[in-house]
């Protein structure tokens, strides 16, 4: 036998010349845990506000499947984007471009988790939730990552739908169906995505330009991007009041959505009026865009938390 016995045990092993051994944290990093946290939270909210009852074990399984599927999308995305990740400063230390994980292993990991999450969701929870979960994975991988991301500045507008599915999946886990309220939650995340991502794209513009990713600031410039951010936020704020308007939630949510909406509009107004040169390049190192990006994350967390609190209080 090869590699067994005293000599093999005592002599130092041979280093893999191409890929050094990965650590557990590299495999966790492949799942994009920060993105996963918002996905899990919005899925949990969909599950909590849905009418009906789901056994806690099955509710946990549903949220776990949403989390694993989101992680799988992250891993497949990192596999596909490994060439541009190596160019961008923000992403070049990810496990694949840094050489800590082999691309094929990352792809296999992502596919296994994606298929596993859908199967478990289907067997343990219900087939509607599993179907939507499969659709969201396919949308993120094929529509956003493979098709849109490198082709059009509308990539995150259409691709944003992938991130809007979790509350629908959470809702479907309980009810086994999809109706108006989860579609409103879907629309909220869908319209929230462009101002969120374009705020990031404003201050990561140079990275995207170097990598050749046609994000809106790269293609249309900073001025147009700031205008588009303002337009989408103006659409978003009244949309967030729809759950109250249709009688699904009460005053707690309505007040929270209004206050948060005003906060988001103020934040976006600062982005729109940022000091900039004639070409739209910020003279403040995109400080307002950085603030708006951070605020947008807190905004969605608090908005959805308010919806759940309102359901339990009301």
């Amino acid at each position: 036998m090869i590699g067994v016995g005293r000599d093999a045990a005592s002599s130092p092993p041979v280093r893999s010349a191409t890929y050094p051994e990965s650590e557990v944290r590299d495999w966790i990093a492949l799942l994009k845990p920060r993105v996963m946290s918002l996905v899990v939270f919005s899925g949990l909210i969909g599950l909590l506000v849905a009418p009906g009852h789901l056994h806690p074990v099955l509710a946990f399984t549903s949220v776990l499947c949403i989390a694993v599927a989101a992680g799988a999308c992250g891993a497949i995305n990192m596999w596909y984007d490994r060439d541009i990740d190596a160019i961008m400063r923000r992403t070049r230390d990810r496990p694949i471009p840094a050489g800590r994980i082999e691309p094929g292993a990352a792809l296999g990991y992502g596919i296994t988790l994606a298929i596993g999450s859908v199967i478990v969701m289907g067997l343990a929870v219900n087939h509607v939730a599993a179907g939507i979960l499969a659709l969201s994975i396919a949308f993120y991988v094929f529509v956003y990552t493979v098709w849109l991301k490198r082709r059009t500045p509308q990539n995150i507008v259409i691709g944003g739908a992938a991130g809007a599915f979790p509350p629908v999946i959470g809702w479907a886990s309980v009810t086994g169906s999809v109706d108006l309220i989860p579609m409103i939650l879907f629309a909220i995340v869908f319209i929230w995505t462009p101002p969120h991502f374009w705020s990031l794209a404003l201050f990561a513009n140079e990275d995207y330009r170097r990598a050749g990713v046609p994000m809106l600031p790269v293609v249309a410039g900073g001025k147009e991007t700031r205008r588009q951010i303002a337009i989408y936020t103006l659409l978003l704020v009244p949309l967030t009041l729809l759950p109250w308007f249709v009688g699904f939630s009460g005053l707690v949510y309505a007040v929270a959505a209004s206050v948060l909406g005003i906060g988001f509009l103020v934040s976006v107004f600062r982005v729109a009026t940022d000091r900039q040169d004639e070409t739209g390049v910020s003279l403040t190192n995109d400080a307002p865009a950085r603030a708006a990006f951070k605020f947008s994350i807190a905004y969605l967390f608090i908005l959805f938390a308010a919806l759940a609190i309102d359901r339990f209080v009301g």
Binding site: V14, S16, E21, V57, L58, L64, A124
Partner: protein, 51 residues
């Protein structure tokens, strides 16, 4: 004809680091499998008792 070259050998410190990483991955995999087993067991019990 391909010429076979021996891969570079590791130092003792590198070998120790390699084993630490391998052990970390093995423990993580064990915990994942145990967690999955416990989850499947719980799902089965719930499905059987809440028909």
């Amino acid at each position: 004809m391909f010429q076979m070259t021996a891969p570079p050998k590791m130092t003792e410190a590198e070998a120790a680091d390699l084993r630490r990483r391998q052990k970390g991955r093995n423990v993580a995999l064990l915990l994942a499998l145990l967690g999955l087993s416990a989850l499947f067991f719980a799902i089965t019990i719930v499905k059987m008792t809440h028909r």
